[in-house]
Amino acid sequence: MPASGSPSPSAPAAPRNHLIERRIRVAAALVAAGLVAQLVSFLWIHPLAFMAFLLIGLPLVAAGIVMFLLAILKASPPAA
């Protein structure tokens, strides 16, 4: 039985694509938010800007990248 949220390889292509696209959309939104936070942190030379980069920008980008990698890993068909 496939894990929850992971469609089996025999599942119809359209819903499967839809699920992958939704994950990629969320991952892209996280990465975009992180990159925007990083950009905003460059407006000031101040310890708070440094902390915003470190505690908001970097974790958001990292979360988005991990989510994207998980999405493409789960999307790949199992080896025969």
């Binding site: 990629i24 892209a28 990465v31 975009a32 925007v36 942190s41 030379i45 800007a49 980069f53 493409i72």
Partner: protein
Amino acid sequence: MNIPIWLGVAFTALAAVLTLLLAIKSELTRNAPGRVLAFLVLFILPVMASWGGFSAQMSRAESTRFCLSCHVMQDYGRSLMVDDPSFIPAVHYQNHLVPTGHACYTCHTTYTLFGPMDAKLEGLHHMYVEYLGTVPKPASIRLYHPYNNRECLHCHEGMRAFMTEPNHNKTPGLMAAILSDQKSCLSSGCHDTVHDIKDLGYASFWKPKP
């Protein structure tokens, strides 16, 4: 390699725009070129942008402007402009004996293998105290460790003016004691006037001509 900040910002902005495009048009990833694009936009570009951004932020954290951006440090910044050559930081700053843009870091990092990392960790501790702890009065601020001669000798060791200075050689063994940190450069009677911010009220200040 020192990449100009505007180039890094432009790169990050481009990566953010492409990522947003992918967030809006995720159906682009249905074919093989789209998946390659997704890998580029959601992995390669953000990693490069974040690495470059981190490096730039670390570099900015070494700037004089960064250190003096906290209110508690402002008197220390003023002490760099005291018009008195006995003030060691002032004479170094005003004569460009240290890079003025990185003056605090130049003297307050430790010149050891992990010195720059130690300085960053101490900087994080400063931030913790500034935002979550009890901020001491500026005149009560003390270094975490006694100032090590190594930081002075990083530039001065081997300098003719330093090695031949009569006061550094007036007693046998004094130079060896200085070089081995047995006798502090900041000892009483030597270079003992450092920031001395409690005396700034009586000091006059040098104003460079524009």
